[in-house]
């Protein structure tokens, strides 16, 4: 087969022009001016994930019913799918290409589903194998510290985490009310990290019980102590009794301490802490009013949270700014000024300007100030530079002190769980590079997803595996002919009157059927899901299969380069380039 046939003599030829062979010898690939090739690209969701999750990868597995595979894939990058599925602000969803078609995929709900369902099927995570001789100390057991501990343990380091509170988890435990993050979910994911051989020593605080010099046995140190100090308003009366910072109130509640606060609570601020406080207070049967100096549009708290708070009876007064906390005993009286919005400031939000002589008074039994947090710098070792309220680090997370790295809220103003998890991962990679004598910055740059800052450790842990492509798929690169509109499936929420009775989780995990349905909505941008369009539509039969299995290979002997596969790939997993002359 495939041979060229020639005849020298008429007598060798058959009587009629009946075919004697096939055309396989005719390598039509020579016609090609453009070359298609399989190229997995990065979906915008993954590129937007501060924790570096392989989002479409895990959703693709979910859609196939492979929940354990999905769970394992998430945990290649992030040990906290149960946490992130609940509390992450999911910037992935706002970048989801499906949003330009109908509605974005409920990525957070799927992550949560996988985290809740898969562990039931899975055996406990095994240990990472024989440990290396190097030891790493991590200060702070929040998401940054524990993410770093997790990845370092996977890199086979001997890791010890020091935590000042009696329980591990940092801000996940102290700052987030359990109606958003049930403690069993957190405990489960923390214990999975411990199962890798990570030791957590609680009740040890840096500066107080521990000095950096005490950690001479450790070849590297990661500082991830977070930002626990509440910012004040710098107004009269804010230090008085009956006034507390939002974070301190949440810590107290989360450590199950009793607080006397009366019935009417005023909360000052428009961020997530303000909302968390207000909703927690409501659950204690009290009245909560948030005072915010700008309007709803500028509120930094997550939209969903604001909505749920309003549903639950939280009052929000906009365009008011307290200038004084009055009254010594009994009910507090807040003196406020009405505000109006002028032109945009450097944050892009319209600046609030007080309206002269607009003073008004708001009465409350208790005042909570939730005006943001900053780092406590007292313990910082010498050599660790601070700037603009955070510890200054290089691109690889290293500080001015050799072998000391910093991350999480301590070293960043992007204070989200996902960012903390990402920075812990970055530290793990940088520490490994540092300890193994590699160029840490280069390692980080190599493993950025898209243009960064999203970072993947997968390729670092599995050398030889494909690195994630810097090409982030745009909506225009997808072929919408293959998708039908389908309603986004979200978690269901319990009724408001049930919610406010206590601290039970507000929303529930997706059911298996709903999760499958939602996962199937995923475009899988840049990821081949073997739909076989390329194979089906190839006029030249040049998409190779091996024993009916899809091989992701083009038969360049015959491919004429028409580009149909490129156009008809629904998800942009095939690229086309000009053929080299």
């Amino acid at each position: 087969m495939g041979k060229q046939i020639t005849f020298k003599r008429e007598s060798e030829m058959p009587m009629i022009s009946v075919s004697l062979g096939d055309m396989e010898w005719n390598k039509t690939g020579a016609w090609r001016t453009q070359r298609p090739f399989y190229e997995e690209k990065t979906p915008p969701c993954s590129a937007a994930c501060p924790a570096g999750n392989d989002i479409s990868g895990f959703i693709l597995k979910t859609a196939k019913g492979d929940w354990e595979g999905a769970w394992n894939l998430i945990r290649e990058e992030n040990p906290f799918p149960g946490v992130c599925g609940r509390v992450c602000f999911h910037p992935c969803e706002s970048k989801c290409n499906r949003g330009s078609f109908d509605e974005p995929i409920a990525i957070h709900a799927l992550e949560r589903f996988v985290a809740d369902f898969a562990p039931r099927l899975s055996k406990k995570t095994g240990k990472a194998g024989e440990k290396r001789k190097e030891k790493v100390a991590i200060i702070g057991s929040g998401p940054a510290g524990m993410s770093s501990a997790y990845h370092l343990a996977r890199l086979r380091y001997d890791v010890t985490v020091f935590e000042s509170f009696p329980l591990a988890g940092g801000m996940l435990r102290m700052g987030i009310p359990s109606y958003r993050l049930p403690r069993d979910v957190l405990d489960r994911e923390l214990s999975n990290i411990e199962a890798l051989g990570v030791e957590i020593r609680t009740g040890i605080s840096l500066g107080e019980h521990l000095k950096l010099e005490d950690l001479k046995d450790y070849q590297a140190i990661f500082l991830s102590t977070g930002a626990h100090r509440s910012r004040g308003l710098h107004i009269q009366g804010e230090k008085e009794k009956g006034v507390l910072s939002g974070l301190d109130l949440l810590k107290k509640m989360n450590l199950s301490k009793r607080i006397k606060m009366g019935e009417k609570i005023a909360i000052i601020g428009g961020g997530n802490t303000a909302i968390d406080v207000a909703r927690s207070v409501i659950r204690l049967g009290k009245k909560a009013t948030i005072l915010y100096r700008r309007s709803r549009e500028e509120m930094p708290a997550f939209e969903d949270e604001i909505l749920e708070a309003l549903e639950e009876g939280v009052k929000i007064r906009y365009l008011v700014n307290p200038i004084r906390v009055g009254q010594k005993d009994g009910p507090k009286r807040l003196e406020c000024l009405r505000m109006e919005l002028s032109e945009k400031d450097e944050s892009g939000r319209r600046r609030p300007v007080p309206i002269p002589h607009s003073n008004l008074f708001i009465d409350a039994d208790y005042v909570v100030i939730a005006a943001g947090e900053e780092i406590g710098a007292s313990f910082l070792p010498e050599g660790a530079e601070k700037r603009e309220g955070i510890v200054l680090t290089r691109r690889d997370g290293s500080t001015g002190i050799k072998g000391v790295f910093a991350g999480g809220d301590l070293a960043s103003n992007q204070r989200t769980v996902a960012h903390a998890i990402g920075s812990g991962k970055k530290a793990a990679m940088a520490i490994d590079a540092f300890l193994q004598g590699k160029d840490a910055e280069e390692v980080i740059i190599q493993h950025l997803i898209g243009e960064g800052p999203s970072l993947s450790i997968f390729g670092y842990l599995h050398p030889g595996e494909r690195l994630r492509n810097p090409h982030v798929v745009t909506f225009e690169e997808l072929n919408m002919d293959y998708f039908e509109p389908a309603k986004r499936q979200g978690e269901s929420k319990s009724a408001v009157k049930e919610r406010i009775k206590g601290f039970n989780e507000v929303s529930s995990t997706l059911s298996e059927g709903v999760a499958l349905e939602e996962a199937e909505r995923c475009f899988g941008c840049g990821t081949c899901n073997e739909c076989e369009n390329c194979y089906v539509f190839c006029p030249d039969g040049s998409i190779l299969k091996r024993e009916e299995l899809f091989s992701h290979q083009v038969d360049y002997d015959y491919c004429k380069g028409c580009g149909i596969c490129f156009t008809e790939c629904p998800r942009g997993a095939i690229s086309l380039k000009e053929e080299a002359k």
């Binding site: 005849f7 008429e10 030829m13 058959p14 009587m15 009629i16 022009s17 009946v18 075919s19 004697l20």
Partner: protein, 384 residues
């Protein structure tokens, strides 16, 4: 079995005795009664043949090309415009080397409309790569059909069997009809070279470049060149079984004649009477009947014209601008010979006009009286 039957019935019997598998045809006068006869036979269940009653002669031949490629024995019959309409497919059949047998009942081609006999229809298909056999009587018609399949399936070329409109097609004569067993013993089942076999899929009639096209046509010519010998064998075999034979040509009359009269088809029967009469008058004259027009029997003719000074040809056809085609072919055959008798090319009987004994005598008389013809075309019976 001896029966009095028309030429068209003789055709039908020939088809039956040849155990034809697929017939495909379209009606046209004077061929129609063949189609009718076959339809009756098939409808009565006496014949297991598939009959495709197609919508045109073009499709009739196309269907046979399909069927013959499929490896079965095939037959069609037509006339005149029908044959002309088939023209493209005639080339296809020979190029694909399909041993299809076609009966053409000679009829003039219009306009003006004319349903009577002349040979313009069949002779104008002379370059299509078909063997052409002309018949003189109904017995020969039947016998020729049997022989045609044997020749066709040996050399892998299609055969056109030709008979005159009405004079044979619609005229009854006694005909000896062989039994089916006798026919079977002469004609074995068709055994195709490249039968369709989906286990071994192949493509037929694949487009061919200038690299090989010439060679395929060369093969057609080689097959044509085999015909004289094959046809002779077949004819000999036929004689040994049935006592009848026809040859490619037949010479009758005086042994060493100075003047020869060449005819084909039923004109030969009339000529036989005229020649006999003229011989009795003392004329040195003999007749040549051309049965096989393609491949043209040049050698056979040359063998029987020793000593002849003149050959009169009566053509019941016309290639306008040239003349009668048999005469033309004869001239071409003689050209390479040292002894070249004068060829007198008469054209007569177009559109079914009778070629009477008187006209034939007139032609002979003219030939005797003239040392050479006064032109390439000598019109016989023309109302001048």
């Amino acid at each position: 079995m001896r029966r009095v039957i028309t030429g068209n019935q003789a055709v039908a019997y020939g088809v039956i005795l040849s155990r034809v598998d697929v017939v495909s045809a379209y009606p046209i006068t004077p061929q129609t009664t063949i189609v009718e006869e076959l339809s009756e036979l098939i409808a009565s269940g006496r014949l297991k043949t598939r009959f495709l009653k197609v919508e045109s002669e073009h499709s009739a031949m196309a269907a046979l090309i399909g069927a013959s490629t499929g490896g079965v024995r095939t037959f069609t019959a037509t006339s005149s415009h029908g044959l002309a309409y088939m023209h493209e497919m005639l080339h296809w059949a020979s190029g694909a080397r399909l041993p299809i047998v076609l009966v053409n009942v000679n009829r003039a081609i219009g306009p003006p409309w004319n349903i009577w006999g002349d040979q313009s229809d069949s002779v104008s298909q002379r370059d299509t790569g078909w063997i052409q056999l002309y018949c003189e009587n109904n017995q020969e018609v039947l016998d020729t059909i049997l022989q045609a399949y044997l020749i066709a399936e040996t050399v892998r070329l299609p055969v056109m069997v030709v008979l005159d409109a009405f004079v044979l097609s619609h005229t009854a004569e006694p005909v000896e009809i062989p039994s089916i067993e006798e026919a079977d013993s002469l004609l074995p089942p068709f055994c195709p070279d490249y039968p369709i076999d989906t286990q071994e899929p192949r493509s037929y009639s694949v487009i061919t470049t200038p690299d090989y096209f010439l060679e395929f046509r060369y093969k057609v010519q080689k097959a044509m060149e085999e015909v004289p010998e094959v046809a002779k064998k077949v004819d000999d075999e036929f004689r040994s079984r049935f006592g009848r034979s026809y040859g490619a040509i037949e010479r009758y009359g005086k042994k060493e004649a100075e003047l020869l009269l060449m005819t084909s088809g039923t004109v030969t029967s009339t000529s036989r009477i005229v020649i006999k009469k003229l011989m009795e008058k003392g004329l040195s004259v003999a007749g040549i009947k051309i049965k096989r027009f393609r491949p043209f029997p040049s050698e056979e003719i040359c063998e029987v014209i020793q000593g002849a000074k003149k050959i009169a040809v009566i053509d019941r056809n016309l290639s306008a601008g040239v003349g009668g085609i048999f005469a033309q072919e004869l001239r071409a055959s003689l050209y390479s010979r040292e002894e070249r008798p004068q060829v007198f090319g008469f054209v007569s009987g177009l559109g079914g006009r009778d070629i009477t004994p008187a006209l034939i005598e007139e032609a002979v008389q003219y030939t005797v009286e003239h040392p050479q013809p006064e032109g390439d075309i000598l019109w016989l019976g023309l109302k001048k």
